[in-house]
C-alpha cells in the first residue's frame, strides 16, 4: 500500500468533540507550523452548540501559500467516535489515520488503502493524571506532541509557544511541556517517525500576522475612531464586538482617570443596536454595529431611515448561511442583495468586501470615513470563513499623518460667517449636503431630522417635486460614492484571454489557486476582485473586455451577478454563475472544475484534484 509523501504541502484535519478543550491544542499545532516559517491555514468547522457535538479543525499546510480550503484530508486526527466513519472516509488514498488506540477497534472500522497510526492517548494521559479535566485537556497536548514527532515539527517551537501562551501562569508552562513530551516520546519510541508528511523549516511566512477577521475589524473600528458600539450577540459576528471591547480597554482608557473614550452597549435586539448607532452618528460620534444576516433583516426599517435622512452608520455583517436561522455556523456570501438594497422604497447602499483580516482592518477604518463623507450607511461584508478563522495575512499598517475625514460638517463659526445652511442642499454638486451636529449654534443650523419627505432646507413637505428632487440627489450622491470606494483589483493571466472571472471577499485564496490550476491545464483566465459596491468603471470595463465572464460566489442565487446585471445593464447571458453554497468555504478545485466544464469540457475534473 502506498503512503502519501509530501513536504510542507498537506491537509491535517482534527475531528473533536465540542467543549473538550481541543481548540487551543489545535491552534497550537497550526501556530507551530507557522513558527517554522511554513504557511498554514486553519479552518474551524463547528456546530451551533457549546458542548457535545462534533467539531473539526482543518489545517492546510502550503509552502506555496495556498490558503483556500482544499478538500480531502491527508492526515485525519480522529478523536471523535461519533464521526469516525465519515472521518475515515474523507482520507485520501495513501493518507494517514491517527487515532487513540487505548481501546481496540474492530478491523472493519478501518480502510485498507490508508495508513493507520494508533497512539494510546487515553492510557498515557490516565497514567499520568488523576483529575478528569486534566486528563482530557492534557490528552489534547499529548496528541500534539505525538504529531510533532510524526510530522517532524521542532519541539522547541511548541515549547516557546506554550511559554508565550502561559506567560502569566508559569506553573502551566511546565505541565504542558511535560504533556507534549509524553506524546512525543511515546511516538519516537514506538512509531516510525517521521511519516511521509513532513514539515520542513522554511521562510515563507515572513512578516505576516495570524489573526481572525472579526478581531481585525474590531481593531479597525478603534483606528477608525469609532466611539459607540451597539450590538446584539449573534454568531458569527459576536467576536467582532468583543474584540472592539478588548482593544478599547487596551487603547482607549485614560491612564490617569480610568475614564473610557468609548461607549459599548449590548442592546436588547438588532433594532435597538442600529437605532443607537443612528442616534450616536446623528449626534456626531462614529458608531457601528456588528451583526449577521438575521440582524440585517431586523434592521431594514432603520437602514432606510439612515439612507433617507442621510445619517452615517457602519454595519459589519459577518455573513452566515441563510435564509432564516439557516446554518448559523456555516459560511456564505448571501447578504449581498439584502444589504445593497436594504429597506423599503428605493435605496442603494455602499458595500465593502474584505478578502482577509488585513483588509477587515483597512476597510473597517475606511468605512467610518466613507460613512461620514457620504452621510449614509456603509456595510462591511465579512463572512464566517474570514471572520472567525485565524488567517495569515499582511501586517496592519497605519499612517500617523492620517486624519479622520468627518465629511461636510458646518461649525458655529461657519454658520456665523453667513454661509447658507440647507441640510439637504447640494452646494458642491456632488450630491452630498452639509450637516450640523446638534447643539452647534444658538440660532443657526438647527434642523429637524425625519424619515418623511422634506425640502432642501429640511422642512416637511409632501410636494412631489421636492420629494423627487431629493431622491434624484441621493442617486447623484451614490454616483459620487463610486469615486470614493476601493477600486476592483485585476489580475491578468500571463497571456491574453477572452475569459474573465469576477469574485469577492473570502473567495480570494481559492480563486488565486484556481487560476493557477486552470493555467496548468492551458486555460488562461483574467481575474477581477470586486472590493466595493457601487461598482467603479473598471468593473464594467472588465466585463466588456471578456467574452465569458464567470461570477464566482458563495450563495445560491448569484447575488453579485444580479447586482452587476442590474447596475451595469449587462446582458445576463454574458455572466456565467459559479456558485458554491453548501456552507463550507469554496475551494479552488470547485472553481477550476466549474470554469473548465464550460470552456474546456474535454479536461476531466480530476485534473484539478492535484495541488502539487
Amino acid at each position: 500500500m502506498s503512503a502519501l509523501q509530501a513536504v510542507n504541502d498537506f491537509v491535517v484535519k482534527f475531528a473533536n468533540v465540542n467543549g473538550s478543550g481541543s481548540a487551543s491544542a489545535n491552534r497550537l499545532f497550526a501556530q507551530s507550523i507557522l513558527r517554522m516559517g511554513v504557511p498554514a491555514t486553519p479552518r474551524n468547522i463547528f456546530p451551533s452548540n457549546i458542548q457535545g457535538l462534533p467539531t473539526w479543525y482543518e489545517v492546510r499546510v502550503s509552502e506555496a501559500n495556498h490558503m483556500g480550503a482544499r478538500g480531502g484530508t491527508d492526515l485525519m486526527v480522529a478523536m471523535n467516535p461519533q464521526t469516525w466513519d465519515q472521518d475515515v472516509k474523507s482520507i485520501v488514498p495513501g493518507g494517514y489515520l491517527f487515532y487513540d488506540n487505548t481501546k481496540p477497534m474492530p478491523a472493519s472500522k478501518f480502510r485498507d488503502d490508508i495508513n493507520v497510526i494508533g497512539v494510546p492517548l487515553t492510557a498515557i494521559s490516565n497514567a499520568q493524571y488523576t483529575d478528569s479535566r486534566q486528563r482530557q485537556l492534557f490528552k489534547n497536548i499529548i496528541y500534539v506532541g505525538a504529531l510533532s514527532a510524526l510530522l517532524d515539527i521542532e519541539p522547541k517551537v511548541i515549547e516557546t509557544l506554550l511559554a508565550e501562551q502561559f506567560r502569566t501562569k508559569e506553573k502551566l508552562i511546565g505541565a504542558n511541556v511535560q504533556a507534549l513530551h509524553l506524546g512525543r516520546d511515546w511516538a519516537l519510541a514506538n512509531l516510525a517517525c517521521p511519516i511521509g508528511l513532513r514539515v520542513r523549516r522554511s521562510d515563507r511566512v515572513g512578516e505576516r500576522i495570524f489573526i481572525e477577521g472579526n478581531a481585525a475589524a474590531g481593531l479597525g473600528a478603534v483606528y477608525g475612531g469609532a466611539t459607540v458600539c451597539a450590538w446584539y450577540p449573534i454568531t458569527p459576528s459576536t467576536s467582532l464586538a468583543e474584540a472592539f471591547t478588548r482593544y478599547c480597554n487596551r487603547f482607549r482608557v485614560d491612564k490617569e482617570t480610568g475614564a473610557k473614550k468609548f461607549g459599548i452597549v449590548q442592546a436588547e435586539d438588532e433594532l435597538a443596536s442600529i437605532g443607537m448607532v443612528i442616534g450616536a452618528a446623528w449626534n456626531g460620534a462614529r458608531a457601528f454595529t456588528a451583526t449577521s444576516g438575521p440582524g440585517i433583516s431586523l434592521m431594514q426599517e432603520f437602514i432606510g431611515l439612515a439612507y433617507f435622512a442621510e445619517i452615517p452608520a457602519v454595519i459589519f455583517d459577518v455573513q452566515r448561511a441563510g435564509p432564516s436561522t439557516g446554518m448559523p455556523t456555516r459560511t456564505q456570501q448571501c447578504d449581498v442583495l439584502s444589504c445593497a438594497y436594504a429597506s423599503h422604497g428605493d435605496t442603494k447602499h455602499v458595500l465593502l468586501f474584505p478578502e482577509d483580516p488585513h483588509e477587515c482592518f483597512e476597510m473597517a477604518a475606511l468605512a467610518f470615513d466613507l460613512a461620514d463623507r457620504l452621510q449614509t450607511p456603509v456595510f462591511v461584508l465579512l463572512d464566517l470563513d474570514i471572520g472567525m478563522n485565524d488567517r495569515l495575512c499582511a501586517p496592519f499598517k497605519w499612517d500617523d499623518t492620517r486624519r479622520m475625514d468627518r465629511g461636510k460638517v458646518m461649525t458655529a463659526a461657519e454658520l456665523d460667517s453667513g454661509r447658507q445652511f440647507g441640510r439637504y442642499l447640494d452646494v458642491d454638486g456632488d450630491g452630498i449636503p452639509y450637516r450640523t451636529y446638534p447643539g452647534t449654534h444658538p440660532t443657526k443650523g438647527s434642523f429637524f431630522t425625519r424619515g418623511t419627505s422634506r425640502d432642501r432646507f429640511a422642512r416637511y413637505t409632501e410636494e412631489g417635486a421636492a420629494y423627487q428632487d431629493n431622491m434624484e440627489r441621493l442617486l447623484h450622491k451614490f454616483d459620487t460614492a463610486k469615486t470614493l470606494v476601493p477600486a476592483a483589483i485585476r489580475h491578468d493571466a500571463a497571456e491574453p484571454t477572452r475569459l474573465g472571472a469576477i469574485y469577492y471577499g473570502s473567495t480570494s485564496p481559492a480563486m488565486d489557486e484556481a487560476v493557477e490550476l486552470l493555467a496548468a491545464q492551458g486555460i488562461a483566465v483574467d481575474a477581477l476582485r470586486v472590493r466595493a459596491f457601487p461598482f467603479g468603471e473598471e468593473v464594467m470595463n472588465f466585463v466588456a473586455g471578456h467574452s465569458h465572464v464567470f461570477v464566482v460566489e458563495q450563495n445560491r442565487d448569484a447575488q453579485l451577478r444580479t447586482l452587476l446585471i442590474n447596475e451595469g445593464e449587462i446582458d445576463p447571458k454574458r455572466l456565467v454563475r459559479v456558485l458554491h453554497f453548501d456552507g463550507s468555504p469554496i475551494t479552488a478545485r470547485f472553481i477550476a472544475a466549474a470554469i473548465a466544464r464550460t470552456v474546456a469540457p474535454e479536461v476531466p475534473a480530476q485534473q484539478f484534484e492535484s495541488v502539487q
Binding site: 511566512v205 505576516r208 500576522i209 478603534v222 475612531g225 466611539t227 459607540v228 451597539a230 487603547f251 482607549r252 485614560d254 482617570t257 480610568g258 475614564a259 473610557k260 473614550k261 468609548f262 461607549g263 452597549v265 442592546a267 436588547e268 435586539d269 433594532l271 435597538a272 437605532g275 443607537m276 448607532v277 443612528i278 442616534g279 450616536a280 452618528a281 446623528w282 449626534n283 456626531g284 460620534a285 458608531a287 426599517e301 432603520f302 501586517p395 496592519f396 499598517k397 497605519w398 492620517r402 451636529y437 446638534p438 447643539g439 449654534h441 444658538p442 440660532t443 438647527s446 429637524f448 431630522t449 425625519r450 424619515g451 418623511t452 422634506r454 422642512r459 416637511y460 413637505t461 409632501e462
Partner: protein, 351 residues
C-alpha cells in the same frame, strides 16, 4: 400639507428669562394637530418649562417616534435639533445620541402606541439603562393618525367611538417605569398645566431616566362617553398625590408651610423639588410603596397623578459606562487613534 412657520413678530413687552429669551424663542412651527388636542397643551408646557428653567434652546435635543405625539417636537423648540425617527424606536435613537454627547439635554416625546405597543421593548430597555433623559408619553389610549384603534394603554372595558369595548388588559407605563428602575417618575394630565409644567421641569433637571406619563385626551377619537381617557373622565378620577414646584439655584424658598405638608428634595444638579403633599401618607422616595399605591388606586378606577417617585442621587448610563467627561463627538484623532507604533507592537504579538 407643508411646513408652517410662525410669524416672528414679538410683543415688545413679552417677558424674558435670565438668558434674555422670550417664550416665543422656545416655540416651533404651527401645530397641525386637531384643534383642542391635549398634545398641544403638553407642547405648551414643554415650552414654558424650558423658558422658566432658562435652558439654551439649542442645547436640547428632542427626539420622537411616529404618531400624533411624535409629530409634536416640530411645534416646540424650533432652535433645537429634532429627530422624528421610526415607529416605537425613539428610545434607542435617543440612547445612542446621549452616548455620543453627554452635554445636551435629551427630551424624548412619544405616545402610547409608539411606546406601549410597538415600542414597549425599547421603552423598557432605555429606562433600565438609566439613560439621562426626559421621556414623555402623551397617552390618549388610541391611535389617532390611523383613526381611533385602541392602543395598549386603553383600559379594559373602555369603549371606542363606535361603542365597542376594549377586551385587553391595559399596560400601565408608570408601574412599568417604576419596576424598570426609572429614577424620576410622574404622571400628569394635559388638562392641568399647573401640575404638568413643574413635573416636566423637575424631569429636565433630573440626572437619570425620568419618565412622565401624561394623559392627553384625543378630541377626535377618544373623548366620548365610555372612554377612560376623556377630559371629563380624567378630571373626575384624578387623584393627585402632591403638587410639585421646581426651584432652581437662583430662586429662594420664601413661603412658610405647615410642618409635614411640604417635602423638599434636592436633586443632583442642586435644583430643589418642593412637594406640597395632597396625600399625607404618600412617600415619594419609596419605589415599592409607590407601586403598591398605584395598584390599589388603579383598582378603584382612580388615575394617580403627581410626582410619584424620585431618586435625587441617581446615576446615569454614562456613569455606568465610566465614560470621559468630554463628549465623544468632540474627541479627535489624538484621543481616539492609537497610532502606528502601537499597531507595530500589536503586529509583533500576532506572529
Amino acid at each position: 400639507m407643508t411646513y408652517l412657520p410662525k410669524p416672528k413678530l414679538h410683543h415688545p413687552e413679552l417677558a424674558t428669562n435670565a438668558l434674555g429669551f422670550t417664550r416665543r424663542d422656545y416655540e416651533g412651527a404651527i401645530s397641525t394637530l386637531c384643534a383642542g388636542c391635549g398634545h398641544d397643551s403638553i407642547s405648551a408646557a414643554i415650552i414654558r418649562a424650558c423658558f422658566e428653567l432658562d435652558l439654551q434652546p439649542h442645547r436640547i435635543a428632542k427626539l420622537s417616534g411616529i404618531g400624533c405625539s411624535s409629530k409634536t417636537p416640530t411645534y416646540f423648540l424650533g432652535n433645537s435639533h429634532g429627530f422624528n425617527s421610526v415607529h416605537g424606536r425613539m428610545p434607542s435613537v435617543l440612547t445612542g445620541a446621549n452616548i455620543a454627547n453627554r452635554d445636551l439635554i435629551y427630551l424624548g416625546v412619544s405616545g402610547d402606541g409608539d411606546s406601549a405597543s410597538i415600542g414597549i421593548g425599547q421603552f423598557a430597555h432605555s429606562i433600565r439603562r438609566g439613560v439621562n433623559m426626559t421621556y414623555i408619553v402623551e397617552n390618549n389610549g388610541v391611535y389617532g393618525l390611523t383613526k381611533g384603534q385602541f392602543s395598549a394603554t386603553a383600559d379594559k372595558g373602555a369603549k371606542n367611538k363606535r361603542g365597542v369595548p376594549n377586551l385587553d388588559e391595559p399596560i400601565d407605563m408608570i408601574s412599568m417605569a417604576l419596576q424598570l428602575g426609572a429614577t424620576y417618575v410622574g404622571r400628569g394630565f394635559s388638562g392641568d398645566k399647573t401640575q404638568l409644567v413643574p413635573l416636566i421641569k423637575g424631569a429636565l433637571m433630573h440626572k437619570g431616566a425620568a419618565f412622565i406619563d401624561c394623559i392627553s385626551p384625543c378630541v377626535a377619537f377618544n373623548n366620548h362617553e365610555g372612554s377612560t381617557k376623556s377630559f371629563d373622565y380624567v378630571r373626575e378620577h384624578n387623584d393627585a398625590v402632591n403638587f410639585l414646584d421646581v426651584i432652581t439655584g437662583r430662586d429662594e424658598i420664601t413661603a412658610d408651610y405647615a410642618p409635614g405638608s411640604v417635602e423638599i428634595v434636592r436633586q443632583h444638579d442642586g435644583s430643589l423639588l418642593k412637594l406640597r403633599k395632597l396625600e399625607a401618607e404618600y412617600n415619594v422616595n419609596d419605589r415599592a410603596s409607590a407601586m403598591n399605591y398605584l395598584q390599589h388606586h388603579h383598582a378603584r378606577g382612580e388615575i394617580v397623578t403627581g410626582l410619584l417617585y424620585v431618586d435625587p442621587d441617581a446615576d446615569d448610563l454614562h456613569g455606568y459606562l465610566g465614560t470621559v467627561p468630554t463628549p465623544f463627538n468632540a474627541l479627535d484623532d489624538s484621543a481616539l487613534v492609537p497610532g502606528a507604533a502601537a499597531l507595530d507592537k500589536l503586529n509583533a504579538s500576532l506572529r
